[in-house]
Symmetry: C3
Subunit: 263 residues, 3 copies
């Protein structure tokens, strides 16, 4: 269920949020432009994350009953590589190459002090987390009584509910034609989930009874690989239009249908 939710967050951010941003942002415009270097660096990070998710799964598929200890060692070793790459990506985007990431923020004038901002951020993050937990907890039994499959709940339903705030902001921002920021929301949070949240989950779960491993199912792999290749293909020219948004949404629709029917 955890890995289904992770997959759902990845494809939700890449296909649904980015698709809606491109679609609604592109309506009535010929094309919208964004910074390709930053977009391409994120895309390579997604490829690294994909390799980190694919290779352990292929390992298990091609071994005969690997022991739990080996799978755990593998998951931790790959997670270390992901975490190091994530730290390096922060060094890259915040220090050595920060000029590539300077989104135009002239509209935003700081009215709050740093201390106030951090406190409000922390408080609202905690509130959102608690709300999501309550929401998910109360909707799950309802969803199951409707006969929804666990895969659909994990991959689609929770991912949509959990990322509702990002949806709204990405679309609003895209309509204002600030595509660099919209891309950072959609792709930035995907790389954050894949390269930071996943390794942290693997590390912390190590101290519990059932450590989480990195072995995704073939279905989840196919969904992640398709999404990454699709998004890579669409963002690499630094332009978007409503039809590209619709293509992302169409791909998301296919994933949703398949996971809804999957027994």
């Amino acid at each position: 269920m955890v890995k289904a939710s992770i997959t759902g967050s990845i494809i939700g951010n890449l296909l649904l949020i980015l698709g809606m941003a491109f679609f609604f942002g592109g309506l009535g415009k010929d094309e919208q432009q964004f910074n390709t270097t930053a977009a391409k660096t994120s895309a390579s990070t997604l490829f690294l994350a994909t390799a980190a998710i694919v290779m352990p799964a292929v390992f298990v598929l091609t071994s005969e009953n690997p022991s739990d200890a080996i799978v755990e060692t593998l998951s931790i070793a790959v997670s270390v590589i992901m975490a190091v790459s994530y730290l390096a990506s922060l060094l890259f985007s915040l220090h050595t190459h920060k000029h590539l990431y300077t989104v135009d923020t002239t509209e935003c004038v700081a009215k709050w002090s740093v201390k106030k901002s951090v406190l409000v951020l922390l408080a609202s993050t905690v509130t959102v987390a608690i709300m999501s937990e309550i929401l998910v907890g109360s909707i799950e039994p309802l969803a199951e009584s409707l006969g929804w499959t666990e895969m659909f709940i994990g991959m689609i339903f929770i991912a949509i509910i959990g990322n509702a705030a990002e949806h709204v902001s990405a679309i609003t921002i895209a309509i204002k034609d600030r595509m660099d920021l919209a891309l950072q929301i959609a792709i930035g949070s995907t790389t954050q989930i894949a390269m930071f949240v996943v390794p942290v989950l693997v590390f912390t779960s190590y101290f519990f009874e059932n450590p989480m491993n990195l072995i995704f199912t073939t279905f989840e792999l196919a969904a992640i690989i398709s999404s990454v290749l699709m998004v890579k293909s669409i963002i690499e020219d630094g332009k978007s239009n409503w039809f590209e948004g619709l293509q992302l949404l169409g791909t998301y629709g296919i994933m949703a249908v398949v996971s809804f029917l999957h027994p």
Copy 2:
């Protein structure tokens, strides 16, 4: 057999026709150029079509004996998404972004009235369809007596015979250095098959005894995915040369050899 022919049309258009156009068009020239935006939009459509073909197959591979009813529902739902995307692509290329698709047609002066053109087009389409049917019907027993595998007949032989006209026109046009038109013939007909013919076949077959589903074999998937990635990689820079054509033809040769030997 139907899905093998669809696969054959897709790889035949992408690898054989485009390969011959690039190869013969590029001979003696340094490079040939074409419009990248239109080419890239077609490439994204191919990615969507690939996802629409891959996900249902992964669904079946990872479910334990899904019922026919579920597979049929899945096929129809995915086909609806494909058909909607196809209609949207028409809206995009004929209405909102038609300036990207304006192929230079100064050479072509309309001498026929619209009514006459449509009638001639209809008549010749019907004639070609009947001829193909007769040709295929008469050649199939011959092919089978030669010991050709069903996969080779479907994927390679019928696809070559059925697209003979497109081969000749794409090569002639490429030699005249009108690459945008050559690409439209090769990639345009691929997206048309994948996004329009396939869903129409799924919908109409629904009223017959053995409805066609969208479940392609692993071999067909591998052929389609390889072709789409290869073509994507070659067209995205908006330039072509004879060696790129040869690489497409080499990939096609590999597909032909493998499907010829496949038991």
Copy 3:
């Protein structure tokens, strides 16, 4: 073991050598640039090589016990296509499009005669080959006594030892900011292994008792496909920086960890 070493050379050149060149070359620089047309042509050749390696494996996975004779015929037929493409790539890079490949060589002034150069080249190649053989022969028992898996020895250990010279030169050259040459060393030797060494091995082994076939394992396929897509994604913009190098090294690290633990 032979195919594991080939896989190791491919991923070693693409991920480790190129990764180190981009990483050390990029340190302290904003970005390094290189010729995209040559890089993209190499990338398409890698896609062709990948298709040539993937399709026979899919053939075997989807056939029920294909006979050895069919697998051998398939291997030879695909090898012929690879060898022809390799010859065509020489014609392309040395004759019809040699202007794309003119690396700046003003620093290098020929001091030796052609005859002397060829003799020295031959002598040193033979010496390196003998040395590698001795090295590998003496290290293999040691490696096995350390409990290393055959896959790790073939894919990672031999590949690093065997390409040590290329590592050093690629990094030195990249630090001097001569990226076109560094790319030629890394990607050029990959295409040479995949498109020339592999078919030659298949042809010559045909005269021995156990002819080598082209059937790579699923694990080797996944490693090759991931590496090719990753490198393609990183080189296509004609620019590199230290973080892109690190991403390639991270992907290599994942492959190394997985093959080290693979039973």
